[in-house]
Amino acid sequence: MAQTVFLEAINQAIQEEMRRDESVFILGEDIRRAIYGATADLLSEFGEKRVLDTPLSEEGFFGAAIGASLVGMRPVVETLTSFMWVAMDQLISQAAKMRYMFGGQATLPVVFRASMFYGAGSAAHHSDRSYPMFMNMPGIKIIVPSNPADMKGLLKTAIRDDDPTIVFEDGTLFGMRGEVPDNADLPGEELLVPFGEAKVFREGTDCTIVAIGGAVNHAIATADQLAAEGISVEVIDPRTLVPFDKQTVLESVEKTGRLVIADPAHKVCSAASEIASIVAEEGFWSLTAPIQKVASEQVHIPYTPSLEKHVYPDVPKITAAVKRTMEG
């Protein structure tokens, strides 16, 4: 096992897939010089035709990636969540809808890698955590890795998957170190994490926390702190929101009777909302306390650190939510 930084894990996944499959190519803004770090050294290995710096034209190059995928390429687009707004029409009217609308004729193995830069004074225009908006729209698979190993394994799976995928790369994790298995130690000698399989990070019996992306580490820290107080918390990371592994969550709630969901997205119609509604519909009789959502406040992301620090789920907020479920 090697200790690997989150950004390096992204880089490894792309590099391995580009080596394995000539139809994989990458495009985006300033990727040749790797200003965000994930595309380092790709140009020198794969050349200009497979590593494309685009004009500042998201709608154009998102659409171009979609079109290339229709005819047999496997494009990987690098972008930021906040720049996806510019290209929403391509993502929704084309990527999400084509296959169904054309009666299954269209296959779109295209991956959009969207960085989420929140929590670092980037202000409202650069801090979007927009995965729930895409969950509402059928047709796009949605991945939110929470650690380097899952980042690598899920991105590799996304590149091989035949459906359009958005991988939401949590910027708060870019510097995170974690163990990523060496290929030689793995079955098939590569790290592939399947979609739709949640991962249980802590087992517990009193309360379940389902956490997403950057909130997973906070949930784990919460569980470890509460263990000292004698509260046993189970921590589940769904890893992919579409498809969503509801079985693992429902079974956990059946055991604990309590559910807290920690989601860095805005609270209204968040991933947390959807998970809460699934458990309310299908796991209601297991619940012994109201479900608690810990998500971002329903305001835009303020620039100033004195306000931004109050917006997102953190250990104190998640801890308080767990304790609310334990009252009465």
Partner: protein
């Protein structure tokens, strides 16, 4: 074109104000006094200052991420701008916007956008209001060579042209979008060549020369106020510093060669304007230096103002979301 002395000196003052503001920002940012991105306008001062000198307070502008120069050029306050960068309550946006989102609605600065191309249709909309109501104001959208490739730009230019709206599309062509060269991403030689596709005048202007920028913009403003429609102006310029503060550490590999940077630094817009003023007997060396020194002072005071302003209180988080507030979810 005759330009009065006051206008020329005002331009020099605003250019020094931007230069000294940016130098201060670089200093305090590297000292860690605030975080977040900041994009220095050093080298490009003549573009915004020349252009805005042709506007009135009642005219509107929108801008982009490289956002300190536009408001200062339009007559904005450096103390409120600096306090905003420091994330303080006395900042232009009460600390909510930060470096990329300065705005001053009292003098027509409708706001700078971190999403590129996004604020250009907005400027067109302000011009549409003038057109509908018969008001005499104009609006101006600042955008870069990179953003000139956004669909929003092209839709805006066509729309403004068919409706003959009083808007000026002001492209700051500093020849790079982060590390990507303009030559690799724009299919025509000059952004201003695109004007013909939208049946409007396109002007290529020396963006290091504030007087040239002022003259070109004045002509476009006159055309707009006369109801004759939009103009695309390209100020050819160069950014002397890194794309954004801190970026130098992350970009791998040089994208501009040192000789090119040195060549452009020889055409410092402040030297060019001062030489014009001095050689034409409009101002003396001493007067120019005094203006520089005064702006250094003003920026120093602005920085103290920013440092002494408090941070917003937690309850401010929920302020300013709505005109008619609604209950929290």
């Amino acid at each position: 074109m005759e330009i009065d002395r006051d206008t020329l000196l005002l331009m020099l003052r605003r250019m020094w104000m931007i230069r000294n503001f940016e130098l201060k920002v670089m200093e305090v940012h590297s000292a860690g006094e605030f975080a977040g991105a900041a994009h220095p306008y050093i080298g490009e001062e003549a573009v915004a200052v020349g252009a805005c000198a042709a506007l009135e307070d009642t005219d509107y502008i929108t801008g982009n991420h490289r956002s300190h120069g536009h408001p200062i050029a339009k007559g904005g306050r450096v103390d409120k701008a600096m306090a905003e960068l420091y994330g303080r309550v006395d900042g232009y946006c009460k600390g909510k916007g930060g470096s990329m989102h300065l705005a001053d609605y009292s003098i027509g600065i409708l706001g700078e956008s971190g999403i590129l191309g996004s604020s250009v249709p907005v400027a067109v909309g302000a011009a549409l209001a003038a057109h509908i109501r018969g008001d005499k104001f104009v609006s101006m959208a600042f955008f870069g060579d990179g953003a000139s490739n956004q669909g929003a730009l092209h839709e805006s230019m066509n729309l403004a042209s068919v409706w003959k709206l009083p808007v000026i599309f002001l492209c700051e062509n500093n020849q790079y979008a982060v590390t990507t060269s303009y030559a690799d991403t724009v299919a025509v030689d000059h952004v201003s060549d695109r004007a013909s596709a939208y049946n409007m005048p396109g002007m290529l202007v020396d963006g290091q020369d504030a007087v040239a920028m002022y003259e070109a913009t004045s002509a476009a403003v006159a055309r707009a106020r006369a109801g004759e429609g939009p103009t695309l102006i390209e100020g050819l310029t160069y950014r002397f510093e890194e794309h954004s503060l801190g970026l130098g550490r992350v970009a791998r590999g040089a994208y501009r060669d040192e000789a090119e940077i040195a060549e452009w630094r020889k055409r410092d817009p402040l030297d060019i304007l001062e030489n014009t003023l001095i050689s034409q007997g409009i101002a003396t060396r001493e007067e120019c230096d005094a203006i520089n020194a005064e702006t250094v002072d003003e920026v120093e005071k602005a920085t103290d103002f920013a440092r002494n302003s408090p941070f917003p209180e937690p309850e401010d988080l929920f302020e300013d979301m709505w005109a008619n507030p609604i209950p929290l979810p």
